[in-house]
């Protein structure tokens, strides 16, 4: 049988659409469509709010290290947080840009699927880049906040304890990555935990890369 014969068979196929048509009408009756529109708008608004928060964070941290520029450890911590804040702005702005490119979903299939895969890949990388430093930041952020609010320099009073916690943070970062690699590929009941493991072990990144390769191959061949 040739494809053209199949085309004829396909054209003759009687679609029983009554149920599906009712489904379309019901969507409007239930106002689900308006809900769908506002959900998308809110995700863009949320991204904009995130950028505003990061900007506020960077401004605060910059004023902190400028004020304490004569105290080496506070200057270094302030600068590290400043870099982290800039990474946060870069991540949010890029995500907003990538989201705006897929917002309408009306680009040609290959273009949109590539953009979606790029957005997914970027989200994974930025989650790792912004997430793992919290092994250290959980201590450094309160330290800066305390110094700013009360003028008490925690580092000066308990440098040894802070360094010990930084060492634990370094070990924790390594352990997280090692554990994710060990657990990768094993079935995990919680979908959330599964996603974290896949992201941290690099499995998700490999999948997105495969998707991008598939698209490129489809275009090329």
């Amino acid at each position: 049988m040739e494809l053209d014969e199949m085309k004829q068979a396909w054209a003759r196929m009687d679609l029983r659409q009554e149920g599906m048509e009712a489904l379309l009408r019901q969507d409007f009756r239930d106002r689900r469509m308006d809900k769908a529109r506002s959900t998308m708008r809110w995700s863009l608004v949320w991204q904009a709010v995130e950028i505003a928060c990061w900007l506020a964070f960077v401004v605060f941290v910059a004023s902190f290290w400028v004020e304490h520029r004569h105290v080496t450890h506070l200057l270094v911590i302030g600068l590290l947080l400043h870099v982290y804040g800039i990474a946060g702005i870069w991540s949010s702005v890029t995500q907003l840009f990538l989201l705006s490119r897929i917002y309408l979903f009306d680009a040609p299939v290959l273009v949109l699927q590539r953009r979606l895969a790029q957005l997914r890949r970027f989200r994974m990388v930025s989650t790792l880049v912004l997430g793992l430093p919290w092994w250290f930041l959980w201590l450094l952020v309160p330290l800066v906040a305390l110094t700013w609010a009360s003028g008490v320099d925690m580092f000066a009073g308990a440098a040894g304890w802070i360094w010990a916690n930084m060492a634990v943070g370094a070990a924790g970062t390594g352990f997280s990555l090692w554990l994710a690699r060990r657990l990768a590929g094993r079935p995990i009941k919680s979908p959330w935990l599964q996603r974290v493991v896949d992201d941290m072990s690099g499995c998700s990144l490999a999948r997105v890369s495969r998707e991008l390769d598939e698209i490129a191959r489809f275009e090329r061949e």
Binding site: W10, L15, G19, D106, A107, E214, F218
Partner: protein, 175 residues
Amino acid sequence: MTARQHQQRFESSLHEHRRIVFKVAGLYSRSAADRDDLVQEISAQLWRSFGGYDPARAKFSTWMYRIALNVAISQARRERWSESDRFEPLAAHHLETIGGGEPVAEQDERLGALYAFIGRLDELNRALILLYLEDRSYTEMAEILGLSETNVATKISRIKQKLREQMTAAETTGA
């Protein structure tokens, strides 16, 4: 245009081209329930995007195919992710997803063969074959998929060749 008129215009355009939504949803879902979900998902995305539709840039059907296929392929990929990279091929029971619950294999055994063939294709090739079966021109297929017309023609000719080989092999083995 008031919001009510805008919605009415959308509803009437959607009604006129509803077959596109049903065919795409049928080809990318594994059960009637999946298909209904996909129909809703596609119509919701069409409504979201309708404000940005520009008739000067594309025909309504082209615009609608793009969105329907993008939603269906994205959903199929999401499911594949959650099921460890498994993109389930279409099988006999999938016939009911496009036929609305009635087994269509009895109507035409060629449809069964067609589904078996389509079932072995990945998401992107599935989109290509759907557009071909829907008798879209190469120009429109190229616009919908984002390929050149030459590329579309080459791909269709390859798919035809592949189908011929599979049919010959099936006849040889008596399958």
